[in-house]
Amino acid sequence: MRRRDFIRTITAFGATACLGMAVPSTASASQARPKLTVYTYESFTADWGPGPQVKKAFEAQCGCELDFVSLTDGVALLNRLKIEGGRTRADVVLGLDTNLTSEARQTGIFAPAGIDTSAVSVPGGYKDDIFVPFDYGYFAIVYDTKAMPNPPKSLHDLVTGDPGQKIVIEDPRTSTPGLGLLLWIRSVYGDKSGEAWKSLSRRVLTVTPGWSEAYGLFTKGEAPMVLSYTTSPAYHLIEEKTDRYRAADFPEGEYLEIEVAGMTKHGSANPLSKQFLSFMISPAFQDVIPQTNWMFPAARLSKPIDPVFDQLVKPAKTLIFPADVVAKNRQAWIAEWLSAMSK
């Protein structure tokens, strides 16, 4: 008897569960407030990231619900869009960078932004009909002065230095900083990049899928160096009042990253998409960026930026590849990276 009950209970439980799984979708469809779905990367939506403040500010002015879907990092965003194709639920995709825009355009799922972007001001004066910049920064090696009194003096120093002093880097297949370092090394070493990576791989503690994992490991003291941005020390200066963590200044120059957002064709039917893109380059959004995303704003703020941002490392040279060169070579360069890193 008890065994029959057991089986019956399971069947009943299974059936209820199936129903239960089906119900929420119909429930949420009947919700009254209009909704905007934004795909972005994890460190944007983290508690300490810009996400929570941006959500609050935008929802206050749109009377809508802003729904973030977060992925590991920027390149993972592009991968997800390629997989979902025209079926994506995303109205807006926020967090690609200019290295990926050419490939993102080729997916054919983006629609022209169609908003006034005259407020945008970024190095090199980036202009595009689809993608709108929301911040920018320079990739840099950030080091812990306590663990590393003698930081690398150049990119060459970093590549050839003591293998006992480790660095945490991000995976170029998922993360924009990871891809950034790949392009940075490529723009300095050219065809000798494979050897440079082979040499650098001796110093790599681990390769993480996204920026937040790498920076987390670094601040926990797992490695004295991490691939991040020239702006990262500003966080420690402002929030922690310490200059323990600094960005290395390399004579070869630093690689520029401009982060952008774009509206999908699916999202172009939702009036909130355009409203969000305009909001994104307004002071309400931009004010949040420097001290949550720890990047330079791409448009005017309502008040002057914290002076700490003026004390940061200024690149001796700004490095950047045209987007179509990246699109053409990304897969081959990643294969080269995989090959060099797996030795």
């Binding site: 681990t206 994992e213 797996s342």
Partner: protein, 554 residues
């Protein structure tokens, strides 16, 4: 009389035929399920490969060969470091047949196999990681901290944690089959430990050794979770993880196909080797292993054996203790107030229940069909192929790792739909198929016994088909069915391979959430989740174990 016989035969024919065809149909349905699941995946991959053309050849690049080499090296070393010490541990356990807590030690050795890999990884990092217990002790003592465990070291530690206890138990079973007289005679002859090992112990274990080694090699070569979490970059990547990364990181289907081809080749060869070496005795999976050794080995030997057993016990116990301690020191209250955690727990349980029920139903169909076919075949030649297919169909799924099935469906789904909408379906079916070899193993002996007991009675009473299933078979098989279900559900609960590929913000299971928290280094959250997952899995395994034991004692 002659007329009466004929009438009886006429009356019996349809009665005998119907149950046969019903079970056969169910068996074919179960086989079809497996064939479709694996076949469609392979077709998807082949289709993708055909479309790839020269890109596929390019995918066989140095990286792929390095990944294949790492897989072999990693699995080879893990096997060596699990199996060789296991021989010594089994000899030690056999030399001390009656010490206090021996039963507990053997129970402990059965635990890692039941533990979700992710939980074990968490325990291993808690002990050997950069901030683990070992590093803390080292820093207190002022000695240099242990080397970092990301990469080969960590992978091997985790694999040895899983497989050393398993292999020890399997070898111990081999030793337990040695007749008691051998030990008495060996001590009467004054054999030293070396001679005894050479003449008695090794011959007893040698039969199992090949099978055990091949089994451990297979488990390590296809291990996904351990390598994904402890790998640390392209330097330490196995084929399974590289397949996942090719799809998930790169969206490079050509590379995924090439990697899958190499992976299938490798698992195919290993399975063939297991076939040649002979499968290890299944008794090793049961809890009780009795030793018949009655002689008392000399004190030196006893001390050495005690030290070895204590060290191994510590090795297995520490990671488990780390999971418990860090789990309970996590803010469980806060964790349980998070809706995301409850959603993940509910999702995991619902998926586990459906996958478990599906797995048990399909396994029962296979077992019943095999029995019906065997009955039909009794005394007849030919048609044994079908019986064999019903018997080992479920096992064939082991040749094709879940990640390959997932990858095949994934690349196929991309052409027609958003693969993430397939996620619940994929996770449930792959989990169900994955558990089938184990469910069949639990169900078959009980079913065959019950069939032998009830067949004639049912035929005489004319009970057949569904009513037989309801009235006779299900009540008789309650215990084994419950055990198979609990075991299947536990396997599904710990699965990361399929969910890593298909999981998204729309479908988050408990291991998936744990992986997310772990990889964003929210260690305290992860500790709590690992504990919840461990408790759920172990409770299910304990329930399965009890159902089996109760059944046997009846």
């Amino acid at each position: 009389m002659a007329v009466g016989d004929e009438q009886m035969n006429k009356a019996r024919l349809p009665m005998r035929r119907r149950p046969l065809s019903a079970s056969l149909a169910a068996g074919f349905a179960a086989l079809a399920f497996l064939a479709v699941l694996a076949g469609v995946a392979l077709i998807g991959l082949a289709w993708q490969a055909a479309g790839q053309g020269s890109g596929l050849v390019a995918a066989f690049d140095p990286y792929l060969w390095r990944v294949a080499r790492f897989t072999l090296v990693e699995a080879g070393l893990s096997t060596l470091l699990s199996v060789v010490p296991a021989i010594a541990v089994a000899v030690a356990l056999n030399a001390l047949p009656r010490f206090r807590g021996r039963g507990l030690v053997l129970r402990l050795f059965a635990l890692p196999l039941a533990l979700p890999a992710l939980v074990a990884v968490f325990g291993v990092t808690g002990v050997y990681g950069q901030h683990g217990w070992l590093a803390e002790i080292a820093s207190v003592l002022g000695s240099p901290s242990p080397p970092d465990i990301y990469g080969l070291t960590g992978i091997i530690i985790a694999h040895v944690f899983f497989n050393l206890p398993l292999a020890s138990r399997l070898f111990l079973t081999g030793l337990a089959s040695v007749p008691a007289e051998y030990w008495r005679i060996s001590s009467q002859l004054g054999m030293g430990p070396l001679a005894r090992f050479r003449l008695i112990e090794w011959p007893a274990m040698r039969r199992a050794a090949g099978g055990v080694a091949a089994l451990v090699f297979m488990l390590c070569a296809t291990s996904f979770t351990v390598v994904l979490t402890l790998g640390g970059g392209p330097k330490a990547t196995t084929l399974e993880v590289a397949i996942y990364q090719a799809l998930h990181f790169d969206f490079d289907a050509g590379r995924a196909v090439a990697l899958t081809a190499v992976q299938l080749f490798l698992t195919g060869i290993t399975i063939a080797l297991i076939g040649l070496a002979g499968r290890p005795s299944e008794e090793g999976f049961s809890i009780e292993v009795r030793s018949v050794r009655e002689d008392r080995p000399p004190p030196v030997e006893r001390t050495a054996a005690s030290v070895l057993i204590a060290a191994t016990t510590l090795f297995v116990l520490l990671p488990l203790a780390s999971v418990l301690i860090s789990g309970f020191s996590a803010d469980l209250g806060k964790l349980l107030r998070q809706p995301a955690v409850w959603r993940a727990v509910t999702t995991s349980i619902v998926i586990g229940i459906i996958a478990g029920a599906l797995s048990v139903a399909l396994s029962l169909a296979l077992v019943a069909a095999r029995q019906a076919q065997a009955r039909g075949n009794a005394g007849r030649r030919g048609r044994h192929g079908l019986e064999w297919l019903f018997a080992s169909g479920a096992g064939l799924i082991l040749v094709i790792p879940p990640i390959v099935i997932g990858a095949g469906w994934f690349v196929l789904a991309i052409r027609f739909a958003d693969p993430y909408t397939l996620a619940p379906f994929m996770v449930v079916t792959v989990n169900a198929a994955m558990a089938m070899p184990f469910a069949v193993r639990v169900l078959r002996p009980a079913f065959d016994t019950a069939a032998a007991r009830h067949d004639r009675l049912c035929a005489a009473l004319g009970i057949s088909g569904l009513s037989r299933l309801r009235l006779i078979d299900l009540p008789a098989l309650g215990g084994p069915l419950a055990a198979a279900f609990a075991f299947s559900m536990a396997l599904s609960l710990g699965d990361l391979g399929t969910i890593a590929l298909f999981g998204s913000d729309r479908l988050v299971t408990l291991p998936f959430l744990l992986l997310q928290r772990m990889s964003s280094y929210r260690t305290s959250d992860a500790a709590g989740l690992a504990l919840i997952l461990a408790i759920l899995s172990l409770a299910l395994i304990a329930a399965a174990d009890r159902s089996i034991v109760r059944e046997r004692s009846q």
